[in-house]
Symmetry: C2
Subunit: 402 residues, 2 copies
Amino acid sequence: MSAELASLMAGTVDVLPAGGLEAKLRRAAAEGRPLRVKLGLDPTAPAVTLGWGVVLGKLRAFQEAGHTAVLIVGDYTARVGDPSGRSRTRPMLSPEQIAANEAEYLRQFSTFLDLERVELRHNSEWLAELGTAGLLELAARATVARLLERDDFGQRFAAGTPISLQELLYPLLQGWDSVAVRADVEIGGTDQRFNLLLGRDLQEQEGQEPQVVMTHELLVGTDGVRKMSQSLGNYVGLLDPPDEAYGKTMSVPDAAMPQWLRLASGLPPPAVARVLDGLADGSLPPVEAKRTLALAVTTRLHGAAEAEAARRRFDQVHRARAVPDDVVEVVLPTGDPVHLPSLLVDVLDVGSTSEARRLIAGGAVRVDGDPVTALDMPRRDLVGRVLQRGRRAFVRLSEDRG
Amino acid sequence: MSAELASLMAGTVDVLPAGGLEAKLRRAAAEGRPLRVKLGLDPTAPAVTLGWGVVLGKLRAFQEAGHTAVLIVGDYTARVGDPSGRSRTRPMLSPEQIAANEAEYLRQFSTFLDLERVELRHNSEWLAELGTAGLLELAARATVARLLERDDFGQRFAAGTPISLQELLYPLLQGWDSVAVRADVEIGGTDQRFNLLLGRDLQEQEGQEPQVVMTHELLVGTDGVRKMSQSLGNYVGLLDPPDEAYGKTMSVPDAAMPQWLRLASGLPPPAVARVLDGLADGSLPPVEAKRTLALAVTTRLHGAAEAEAARRRFDQVHRARAVPDDVVEVVLPTGDPVHLPSLLVDVLDVGSTSEARRLIAGGAVRVDGDPVTALDMPRRDLVGRVLQRGRRAFVRLSEDRG
């Protein structure tokens, strides 16, 4: 396998038909023309998750190999929506919302993709002119039984969950997009396998050479269980600030780490293998592997400097929150509320109450790890708690039981 | 029940919702406006069968009661057809074929309907402008499960017979026709029940008062088994010449007679009841009942005089063909071929061979009931057969075994 082919095949689950990509690449090289590589997006929600990174990375790999990335915005289908209101996954959107979503998508995609070299298309270009007759003719191309073979349709049908006829038409429209742009390759997640294959059928019926279908693993969310998605809230957004991206990644369960390292870290395969090996033989503690992952993810979104800074801040906060085992216990002076600057002078060796005030204002004073801002605090909020100054000085406050 | 209501309810299987027709009639009378009564036709085949007589008769009853017959020609849907070629029931038609079929339909409908007072509409008027978006929105109005409740779809789905998505869309388009013409009532066969009810749903969603649905029994074909249809060949056509209409009706199995008398004879209910009673108590032989039916059907299509003539001709032929039980057997003279004029002189008392030639030329000479035209016939075509002159003179020809 050539290095180019290897990089293009990386991370795929299905490449159909077998040998199809090699043949297309050979032919393109012989004819001196780039392949047209299609990726579709529905501008139905404003934010993009790290899950997109998988296919966007692949699209960039094609770009880097000199091929044409054809990005298709489903503006027409988003506009139609589902007026029955039965489907929550297909709200009806105004043209303004769609345009805004599209702009937001592209802004976020630019993290991963050279948009200057992308062929940007909108399916309103060809779907509007299809018309009643064209859509009816398209609807004759697929049978109900065939469409119910798609996993999610089949499961919903079996479970008695309503499936509108409109939903059954969408795969055909998506396939028609492939005909309209004469796609050589279409990339997507494994959940798109059926739709991508339908595109092949339609191209063949229209006398085109059918596209090669490349599906990719779906990135699991920060819950480690379900597909990463905006609606489930288990996602890292491409626009999440560095601290958020780093922190969310640190919250991913250990079991999901290997997949995140492969799909989301952006690390080269040998580096990923080293981390996975270290985890497997126990030489690398999971928390260290996760720090590597979080740094890599944040670097991908914000660059090395921002990521490094995010890591430092994360460590500060989390180490600062770590209370030593051997905390000295001190008795709270009488009075309620308690005057915090005086307390700091009394029990944590602060030079003066005015210095104590400065420390409080600067967030360097914490109770049970949370920075405090008030100068006077009720006794009940202090009894039994750990008072902390900066990163190193701790005392536990107790009631005088004498 | 008023006389008008009784005549409008006659022969219906379902009138939905219960009491709906009465309410519509009352309202129409109060508002001094006629009801809009929809009947749809697909101009996909050139000839119309007697089966149409049932709903056309009903539409005329509405006309006679002062209501508006709205005849909808499915020209748009006929034009789309099924380009996959998978469905034999939906061939793709050229605009010329569709126009020709429509003209033919109307010519034939004029037997039953006052076309001058019909509001003739074409669904291309509103379906073309629906467009991709409109059709997608319409497709959101029905679920797959709901459409598979339609008997034929359900059976085909269960049997694994392909159903294209296009076919599932047709009931919605047909329902949309009801919205477009603001139908108060739609009439059809029982096989249209589902589609007619879907029209109600769409009207309701569009803020219209939903139509009353009236379904009618389907006339069984001349085979007495399956629905009368052109494609099955088991039909009487509205344009069949009198002899053919009469003869085909005489071929209907006895078991189907009661239904034909009710649905196809055009006889008033008391006359139908008399025939059915006679059949039930044995006072009327089935063949006589069938002659009454055949005369009534032919009268409906061609008027009393033509029907009476057809009956006479039918009787002549069939009585002429009837060979008596006691036919005399005569021995064929030697020689091969046999000279027919001489044979007629020898065995059937014809005066001369020239008279015999005239009889042959006039079709008055038959062998086993079929008129002969040749003067010389091979012996093997005569041995064992009945030679007949006119209506009354018969001999059976045998070989001399002496």
